[in-house]
Symmetry: C3
Subunit: 349 residues, 3 copies
């Protein structure tokens, strides 16, 4: 029985033909007998696949396809776009080599196995509803009224508050905390130490102290959302803070109360959104940028890293600076100022 | 027995007269038979109260009273200032509608009940002193010499280090860590994942490596302090890092060693204070702003979001920019630069 | 038997002669019978030692030696540089008073004792290798295949993932999380809540959603590295994210996937490094600064607080601003702009 005819098992070596099947591409040339992994061009070895980027990355940096990209790579086989010149090396041609690389990496990934069931050290209160196929790890706490869906995984030390719901197939990494009432859709990933549902920063001076405004709202997270490590997402004052389907948040992102994010929003590391920010579908915030409160950011807006959005932004705009304005204007203004400073300096010499 | 004569129970519906009593206002008109909750004007229903802001929020954004604020609200009853025109709708008139809203929200809030006592999974070392009315949640650790005061609540997975003291009525949310020796006054709230008392960032190059300076000090937190999720507060080198009474810190705030904060200081999200920053009473730092080390910031100073305070600031000043200067000057300077860039661009067209 | 002849016990009072021995200096004058502690000049008492700085601190702020530094200090004995005028006060002369202060502070420090062994509440999986001299605290989780070296200390609630290795003498404070496969050299310190090895922020738009790129790499942390509280360090895509020997990271630092830090790098509070940043030996990033992805920062570079490095930087440069450029140029440009704004304002008066 030829090996191509058996289903491919996760993590096992692949023949080039099997690899082509996994990524949905067409094989050109021979390649190694066994592909044992995937790596970047510089570090790949003769039994590794690699890939040549053909699109800008999330940050907008265009890193391929570069005709010189191959350099002296030792990769045994390449994932390349239909027209990339491989100089005769064996390759698998695909529409999008990065997606193909992701598919192959998914094959070789080995997330730690988690058997269904509740670890003896976990505390699951009466009235919590944990699906039989879910895994509740050591030292987790699941409070009364919470539900944990099928095939969800709570890694060690996760706390799920009263009346939370964790959707099917979602994975909460160690130390994640959900305050009471938070809902989380299916297939979400929350990385370690992330906190969802803490009280919003709502206080009002009463003449002698900052009086706290109790927060009766909650947080609703859609489907397929991935949230990095060490993020904080506050609950709404009355309604829910909302994170739409397919949003991706990098580490240490902070979301104030009553924010409403559309779908597929991208928030890079250490972004901070002030309370009641409305964020349209597909918006991208670069690292360490932020918004003041009560602003509306239109669909598809791109915010440069380190910027501060203090006013509403129209759909599709690309903005930067503090306060954020048209990014090109901000860049020109900064360049102009530095030219002036250099000129002044030269005049003094 | 008319229902007004019985004490109001938390979370139970209120008659308008009872609500007026809760907020200390005077009822005008009838309102719904039962008030079942409170919400913002846009989302309130006929059995909800709502309120019309009459003061700027913490960020200085003046959001009311707006004569058009009511729009087509469906709120059953309104909390309004003495002279606000309600167009005949039932209302409760109060001096400060936001404070009244907070009082009513407090009535309807249902924080999860925590019964006094030590959860069987918690580890309380010999020599720790936990008050009988305190609640120590699942998987908490209270080290020797620590004290936890009356009616304090440690949610799941809180770690209280050796010789710490947690004041009466304070609430530590899941995963809070107090390093040894930290003291916390009464009625404080620390949100999930916050760390207090980690070593300060004090190192000195010894010719071959960064030699660590041991930190013998601690952290002293006053009364009625609320600290958001994911904050970090370092211990002092010799003395204490001090957070004064009534300070409020939003999420992901970082406080370096030896900082001394007065009372009622407001630090918005992701603020970072360098070591030995002295902060006067009532100072407000906007989101993502910070200070360099060894600076003195006078009482009542306001620091715009995203700014960096690198020099001492006089009492009452409002500053912004990097380095922070008079905020209006900073704003004018930025606007001037952008005008120049636009003009230059136009000239090139 | 004169007391100088017995070895000094940690935390016990010292005679001036013993203190001189501890710091490797020479005693001048008498000093108190017993030195019971060390403090800064302003707060030291007659039985305390103190020291007069003679070098700039890490931030470059030159704070000594100031002839007026002594003021009216009540310190019983001073650690001073060879030529500092002590006005007749008893002192110990040393090459570097800060290092001497650190040595004396180390003598008086009392880190909580941790006895070797595994706390009964900890979960150590079969196949984990915990050295008999290591200490595994309450509620820790050590997964299969992980190793914890001699005299390592895991404080409460630490999670060590599958196949991690924790080097000899390293200390992980409460709630630290190591994802599977992370390796940590000897004598490292990780402060509370820090997360190492979370997935990198690698996604690629597939036409309908952000497809995640599985992260097959890991994180390698060298020897003698100290990492503050609440930091996040992502694993590499294929290879390791690398933190070199002797690096020191302050709180809330974020390191993207595939970053490679050389030795002795200093990252101040809330620094964020974009993915694939290469950082040379001895680089210093000031607080709240950051880098975009895929940049190379040469050895010895200094980055001013709040700056954003978006392009490669040559060895030894000092840069600042957004985007970062030569720091002096950036400072001159900002000063020039403010002068122009002031002049314009004056012209309008």
């Amino acid at each position: 029985m030829p090996e191509e005819s058996v289903p491919v098992s996760p993590c096992e070596p692949l023949t080039p033909a099997q690899a082509a099947e996994v990524v949905g591409g067409s094989l050109e040339g021979e390649g190694p007998a066994q592909i044992r992994g995937i790596a970047d061009l510089a570090s790949a070895g003769p039994e590794d696949a690699s890939f040549v980027r053909s699109a800008p990355d999330l940050g907008g940096r265009d890193t391929g396809p570069d005709p010189d990209a191959l350099g002296d790579t030792k990769a045994g086989i390449l994932l390349v776009s239909p027209d990339f010149a491989t100089e005769g090396r064996p390759c698998i041609r695909v529409e999008d080599p990065i997606l193909a690389g992701a598919a192959l990496a998914a094959h070789f990934e080995t997330p730690p196995p988690r058997t269904p069931g509740i670890h003896p050290s976990a505390v699951v209160e009466n009235g919590a509803d944990v699906d039989a196929t879910a895994s509740v790890g050591p030292n987790c706490v699941v409070r009364a009224g919470a539900s944990v869906g099928p095939e969800a995984v709570l890694e060690a030390g996760v706390v799920v508050g009263e009346d939370c719901s964790v959707g099917p197939g979602s994975r909460l990494h160690p130390g994640v905390v959900l305050y009471p009432g938070v809902s989380l859709g299916k297939a979400c990933v929350l990385h370690a130490g992330t906190v969802v549902g803490s009280d919003g920063f709502g206080f009002h001076w009463d003449g002698t102290s900052h009086r706290k405004f109790p927060h009766l709202g909650t947080v609703e997270i859609g489907e397929g959302v991935e949230i990095g490590a060490g993020c904080t997402i506050d609950r709404g004052t009355f309604q829910a803070t909302v994170i739409g389907d397919g949003c991706i948040l990098d580490n240490q992102v902070q979301i104030g109360h009553n924010c409403r994010l559309g779908k597929w929003v991208v928030l890079c590391g250490q972004v901070g959104l002030g309370g009641s920010t409305e964020v349209g579908d597909g918006v991208v915030f670069g690292g360490q940028s932020g918004s003041g409160g009560h602003v509306r950011i239109g669909a598809g807006v791109k915010v440069a890293g380190g910027s501060a959005v203090l006013n509403d932004v129209e759909d599709g705009a690309t903005v930067g600076g503090h306060p954020a304005t048209d990014l090109r204007l901000d860049q020109r203004a900064k360049a102009l100022l530095r030219r002036m400073a250099r000129k002044k300096e030269a005049a003094l010499d």
